[in-house]
Structure formats: C-alpha cells, structure tokens
Amino acid sequence: MIRAEVVVELDGREVYRGESKSFVQNFGKILFAILNGTGGVPLNYTGSVSSATVQKPDGSTATVHGEYYTTKTDAQSGGGTAMGFNARAGEDAWGILVGSGSDPESPTQYNLKSKIAHGTDPGKLYYDVHTVTSSYSNTSSYVEITRSFINKSSQPVTVREVGLFARNRYQTSAGVEVDVIFMVARDVLPNPVTVNPLGSLLVRYRVVLTT
C-alpha cells in the first residue's frame, strides 16, 4: 500500500500534516514514459526510446523522455535524467515550490496558482536546498523530500499552496537537448501559513509503503 503525505512546519513547529491528494496528470505521463522504456538497446542507439507529452508551467506542451540517448555527434559527453527534484538553494523553478494561491486542486493543473518567488524582497521567500531521507523495513518504509524557506524580507509572507516540480533534462558537451520542468503534484493547505520576517517554513513530501 502506498500513501503520500504533505507536512508543513513553521518555525520548527508542525502546523499541517495531511494526505497528499494532488498528483496531477503530468505525473501519470512521466511514469508512463519511464515504465515504457525497454533498456537493452544497442550501443549505437541514439534518441528517444520512450517519451510522453507534459504541460509546462506556462501551459505549453513539451516532450519528456523516460529513456533517452543523446544525439549530438560532435560532442564529447552526454547524459541526463528522466526526473530530478533536487534543486539547489535559490532555484525556484523545480523541486518543492510554494505559492499564495488557494484555487482547489485539479488533475489537469500544471502550475501553482501564484508562485512565491525566491528572493529577499517583500513577498518573496528564500528557497533553501532540499534534503532527502528514507527508512526501509519489511513492513513499513518511507522516503521524503524536504525543503525549507526563509523569510528574509521585512514583511510577512503567507503560503496557501505547495507543489512538486520535476526536471527532465538531457545534455551533451555541445548543448542541451532536452530541458523540461513540469509540475507533478499540487496541494492547497486547508489553512494559510504566515511566515513572519526571519521566520522559516519547512515543506515535506513523504511517500510511505506498508504491507
């Protein structure tokens, strides 16, 4: 059995814990692209084996690849990943993002309603690094990804929605061949959470397996 949780902590105190109920169809599409791979292709294989079309945060569509082999013939290097979440500090385009919108969740959504950008100005939050932790046993296991946000401005910032954004990217030394960021989950918090100046917010997505 699989469960997913969203946990929100404000200044070190848990203020929300609930079942995440908000995967969007982009997640189904990238899962298809990954599972639809074959592996075992010949060494001279190049291009996509398995792909899907997702909706980017601007609403346009893009092709993502679950199994892909770089195509540049004048490059010295190549590689990538089907789905990365581990954005660094200050990167507010993917990983865990927060927003101030409160529109209800819908499976066809592709962006937060109103993203709170990274920064130190009023209305912004400082996006910190992600951490990933896990625990495994015979009967109950989990993996979670966490990101903290700090209000370095002089005004309170109110968070009403959280989202999980993935990055599908393949590159060579000659250039980037695929680079698509897309939302896979969005949760609206039942109550707004206000982060005061110098306050911190922590958002955690946890996936739990049980027998």
């Binding site: 079942e19 010295q76 290097s77 990365g84 990217r169």
Partner: protein, 233 residues
Amino acid sequence: MSQPLNPMKGFIEIEVRDREGRVIQKGRHEMRSFTNNFLKILEGFFNAYGNYPPGYDARPATKTTVVAPDGTSKDAWIEAYFYYAYGVNTYTYSGGVAMATRAGAGVDSYGIVVGSGTAPFNLNDRALATKIAHGTGAGQLSYDPVSLDDLGLDTSVSPPVYRLRLVRGFKNLTSSPITITEVGVFARNYWKHYASVFVDVMFLIARDVLPSSYTVPAGGSATVAVVIEVVMG
C-alpha cells in the same frame, strides 16, 4: 486534515483461455505489493539534480541501491553523464533508463513475470517465490512481449485517476496444465554510451500472491494485466 487517500493503486487482471481460445477463468485483484525497490527508485529521483553544465562527467551523478533477484545489492543509476576522453567528433549515444518494464518476447527477467509460489509478501521481496520460466519445457510458459498502454486521465470516477495498463500474454505450449499463483513486475535499469554498457540490472518492484490460483491448460494461454492508477484529488 484532508481525507485519507491512497495516491497510487494497482489491480491485477487475469484471463485464462483454453486451446480453442474460450475464456475459462478470469479475475481482478487489488495489488497491495509495491516493494522497497520501487521506493528506492523514487528516492533516486528525489535526489537527482538535472541541471549540470554541458560537459559534466559523472558516472553516475545520482544513484540508488536496489536488491537483485539473487539477493545482491546493485547500484541503479538515476542520472549519469558520460565523457569521451579521446577527442572531439565522437558519437556519444549516452543515456539510459531508471525503471523500464517493456520486455520483449521470451524475456522472463523483467516486465510482468508469473510464478507458482505462495510465500507471503513483504516489502523486502526481491524475487518471486517460484518463478515460472519462459520456455516450452515442462512447467514453463512462453512469454509474449510486454506492452504498456497509456489509458490517460479518467474523470468519470471520483476521485479522478490516471491509468496505465501493463499487459503480457503467456502461452502454455507444454502437454500439462500450469498453475499461476503469484504475479511480479520487474524493472530494468540500463545505462550505456557508444562503447560500453555500464549498468544493466533487473529488480522486483511489485509482487502479489493471488487470492485464487489460475490454471492454464495445455495449449491454452493467460493474459495478465497490471493496471496502475495514480489517484488525483
């Protein structure tokens, strides 16, 4: 607090036909059995970065550890960048896949695999209790290729679901009936560049012991479908 919800469900659908093609047994069972290997791959995706500069060399940049059917721990790569050191104008052909399931005909090491064991499931399962191998010898089934259908978003149910359907056919080309009691989904992690395969690992991501057995008569066939539903709020 929002209402409890299982964000991902699965169902196993089995249909058995006799040698004349008549359906003689069918059933649908809820899956309860994604393994720790599946969660390990998800952990790898959580750790993957995906924004290195062109020319980056890391084999791998992100990996996780899965347990192979023989019980050994193996690296499974999630993100990798290969560098060819001998000069420009080389063909890179570099990349891979983290969790492929679309195995070809006759391949019984990944995709949907069936067995005759009944050992109870636990999250550390790494193999079927007793795999039914591909073949035409006694006790074997002939494995068809795996297909995966993207059935898309279904908003006619509440809550809506996004549905994928993994399907494989099995033929009994022997002279005796063969009984299926367990179904597994194995994935393949495969990464290569123009000259070498770096990783090629198969691992169990789901296993279910069926509540009732299915017997494929001599000359008959079985179709096994694993329906994955991503549940959306």
